[in-house]
């Protein structure tokens, strides 16, 4: 039975929906996060799922709060268990305070494990009464909408809109399911057994809600991307899908290549002809691109590479997360040539950094990585907006003269980049070592000059490197270091720790390493690095470039992202 203390006074509720792949958990996540935001609740959602189309167990965590929430927590306040096995799947996260909403008959023996704080909600029976158990997920949408006091009309309208492409009776049955669920939810709310006190914020209503994949896609458009070639691979596919969906309105070419090798070679051809191109891939796919990356280095071609990391080696855990490919991005490609690696931490970063990646690539004629991961790709939260007023497309293309030389030796290593049929010159690029005109050469003195020229660009790139962000006191004694997708998690853990002698240094550009790095680190009495990998790849990079060895490491590599509690506990242990 439910104890009526549940969730009372809570201003930050964590809901987990768990069921089999194919049960429509994603639909619940999609509809509910949007409905909650429309009411003015701050929301965060992230999912973990198995690499299969049916069966297995998937879960989505949705946080609803009076204040902005942007990170995964372990804690479950409300568990919606849609199938047998769901309770077991998230058992480590269930506490005595977790309220379980499930259908006793459906979850079977699992009931005994959660009986103390259980509300029997007939998700499946209600759906079956409407016509089929496939509507159970929308019953769940209705239940949670009712429970959180979302307007009934808004709820059913949104369900109707979501299913509008389906046949009429399917739309109506889903609306009925939402309606019936809504009643169950309001009853539950009225029973006074599940209560909370989250305050809606009028400002949130007008905010935007998007995930990492969408933010990278929007950033690409803002960067002037007009060509994406990619081969589908989790968790990077979202960017290709997003750009394909908007290809028509933004006049861009979104091509599914036959393999990743074709994808990057297409992108290089596109840049050569004056387009602004990107590829989107994950570790295994990027491994296939490495020869093409090296070609970009030799041709001095710009290219933007979105690399969404997942655990390897090889196929690894296809739908899970890791920060395990930093060294791959850093050292991929034979030969020596410069590159830039950006790693967004916030949703906003994904937009601004991806946008800037195109300008940086064009300015320095180098590959620029946007390094994300599954956790980042699949996490949503509301943010005020994305600013397009400063969007600037830097095109570094010159009109060629008759005597144009693509690889003219210059002081800063950057040769003005011409493209075919813009001007009177001929543009020759070559994967062989080449002369200033771009034609094959084995003049070894010239070879040295060309290597120096290519590497010389790194100086400008280093001075352009975006500084890390310091969160917390300037006069810190302990400095926590993180990069990329862990930003919000570590940030929230820092708030929970509430220590005035601890600060957090977040890197959204990991290479070239920002010049401020050394100073920030040497000011600290002790340093801790947090990485979602097994070997502290960023720690090694910092040591290589600053000589500073960050000895205390918090590393996680089981395929899941960090939770706020995990980081908080680990830090408490280290700082004790």
């Amino acid at each position: 039975m439910l104890s009526d203390m549940s969730l009372r006074d809570k201003q930050d509720v964590s809901i987990v929906l768990c069921g089999q792949a194919g049960q429509g958990i994603q639909t619940v996540e999609f509809l509910l996060t949007r409905l909650l935001k429309l009411v003015g609740y701050n929301v965060f959602a992230t999912k973990e799922y198995m690499s299969r189309v049916r069966g297995g167990m998937n879960s989505t965590t949705i946080r609803i709060s009076s204040r902005p929430v942007r990170a995964l927590v372990d804690r479950i306040d409300i568990l919606v268990a849609l199938d047998k096995g769901a309770v077991g799947h998230v058992e480590k996260r269930i506490s005595a305070d977790t309220v379980v909403l499930a259908e006793k008959q459906i979850i079977g023996d699992d009931f005994e494990r959660v009986r103390d704080n259980f509300a029997d909600v007939p998700f499946v029976k209600t759906a079956e009464d409407i016509g089929s158990k496939v509507y159970s997920n929308v019953v769940a949408v209705g239940v949670l909408a009712g429970l959180f006091g979302i307007d009934k009309r808004v709820t059913t309208d949104s369900v109707r809109k979501f299913f509008s492409a389906k046949a009429g009776d399917i739309v109506e049955n889903n609306v009925k399911a939402a309606d019936a669920g809504y009643k169950l939810g309001t009853d539950l709310a009225a029973s006074d057994k599940v209560r909370f006190s989250i305050r809606p914020d009028a400002d949130v209503k007008d905010q935007i809600l998007l995930n990492g994949a969408e933010a990278v896609g929007l950033g690409a458009i803002a960067g002037g991307c007009n060509f994406i070639a990619a081969y589908p691979m989790s968790p990077s596919t979202g960017v290709l899908v997003f750009l394909a969906k908007h290809a028509k309105e933004f006049r861009l070419i979104a091509e599914q290549a036959e393999d990743e090798i074709a994808a990057i070679n297409m992108a290089l051809g596109a840049w050569y002809a004056g387009a602004r191109a990107m590829v989107s891939t994950s570790g295994g796919g990027f491994a296939l691109m490495t020869e093409g990356l090296s070609l970009a280095g030799m041709l001095e071609s710009p290219v933007v590479i979105h690399l969404a990391q997942r655990p390897g080696p090889a196929t690894g855990l296809p739908t899970r997360t890791e920060q395990g490919d930093l060294e791959l991005a850093l050292y991929a490609g034979h030969g020596e040539f410069p590159r830039i690696i950006l790693a967004p931490g916030k949703i906003e970063d994904a937009f601004y950094l991806t946008q800037n990646a195109f300008n940086l690539a064009d300015r320095y004629q180098v590959p620029v990585f946007v390094l994300t991961d599954q956790y980042f790709m699949d996490s949503y939260y509301n943010i005020p907006s994305l600013d397009t007023s400063h969007t600037k497309i830097e095109k570094h293309i010159v009109k060629t003269k008759k005597d144009y030389k693509r690889y003219e030796l210059t002081e800063n290593g950057i040769s003005p980049r011409g493209i075919p049929a813009y001007g009177e010159g001929l543009v020759a690029v070559d994967s062989d070592e080449h002369d200033t005109q771009g034609h094959i050469t084995e003049d070894l003195d010239l070879r040295t000059k060309m290597v120096d020229k290519r590497l010389h660009k790194a100086e400008g790139m280093a001075s352009d490197a975006m500084p890390p962000e310091l969160v917390g006191p300037q006069d810190y004694k302990t400095l926590i270091v993180g990069w990329g997708s862990t930003y919000n998690i570590i940030n929230e853990a820092m708030q929970d720790l509430a220590r005035d002698d601890v600060a957090f240094l977040h890197f959204r550009q990991v290479y070239p390493l920002p010049k401020e790095t050394q100073d920030f680190l040497s000011k600290a009495e002790r340093t801790v690095i947090i990485e979602n990998n097994a070997t502290s790849q960023f720690g090694k990079l910092i040591k290589l470039h600053t000589g500073i060895d960050i000895e205390r490491k918090i590393l996680k590599y089981n395929g899941l992202g960090f939770s706020v509690e995990e980081v908080t506990e680990e830090l408490k242990g280290l700082l004790a």
Binding site: F227, A257, G269, G274, L295, P420, H439
Partner: protein, 289 residues
Amino acid sequence: MDSKVFDMGDIDMAWCPGCGNFPILKILKQVLAELEIEPTKLVVVSGIGQAAKIPHYFNTHCFDGLHGRALPPATAIKVANPGLTVIAESGDGDMYGEGGNHFLHTIRRNPDITNIVHNNMVYGLTKGQASPTSQLGFRTPVQVAGVFLEPFNPLAVAIALDASFVARAFAGDAEQTKEILKKAITHKGYALVDIFQPCVTFNKTNTYQWFKEHCYYLEDSYTPHDRTEGFKRATEKNKLPLGVFYINPNKKTFEENVGIYRDDDRPLYEREPDIEELRKLIESFKSEK
């Protein structure tokens, strides 16, 4: 136009005296001049190998990329600026071996490019190993007992994929090869021209004389519009036909299919993103999309 506009003057060339690449280069320059294609409007994309050095030996925009990877950039260059004439040119090892997957899928994608393959049935630059088109029994330092892999048949594969233009020529016959190349370059859509070419250093079997004895031209009465017939002729083995085997003029090109040129023929480099439209798209994330 005089074909001299393509001459680079006195340059150091890496081809052996008597190499079949020389006549192909000469023929190509003549064809381009006769078609009035300016060097500044022409991009030649190649891979790696002796044939792939061709864009370094005449005046053209040149993208000499990776081994086997000429077709993906050629496709992208054409779609990024459809006003360019794009030729993807390399040898048999490059196009059919290392780049085999791109060969298949470029045919499916059907960009309006010409794919010229110098087919000498041997690897030259790596010194004489078998290529995908080496004939059965061909002995090399690696295939010491003779080739036993079924030779790759590029024409039959292309016709099986309903390629929009499929032809074979012989470097030893300048006049006919010129005519075939002209048709290929002016054809709208992907056009394959496989050109038999002797390697005078590493292939002592498939010589000029051998090709003369083993090749013949498709009859004047042959019409290249029947896919089954084209496939049949492409699979002939004792005597090897030359000429245009198959044309499918009804295929939309990749550039047409991507849709961005329907009402705007500006190449991508002249375009700017629609920031107002982007602002609206960002706004749309306020409600469900």
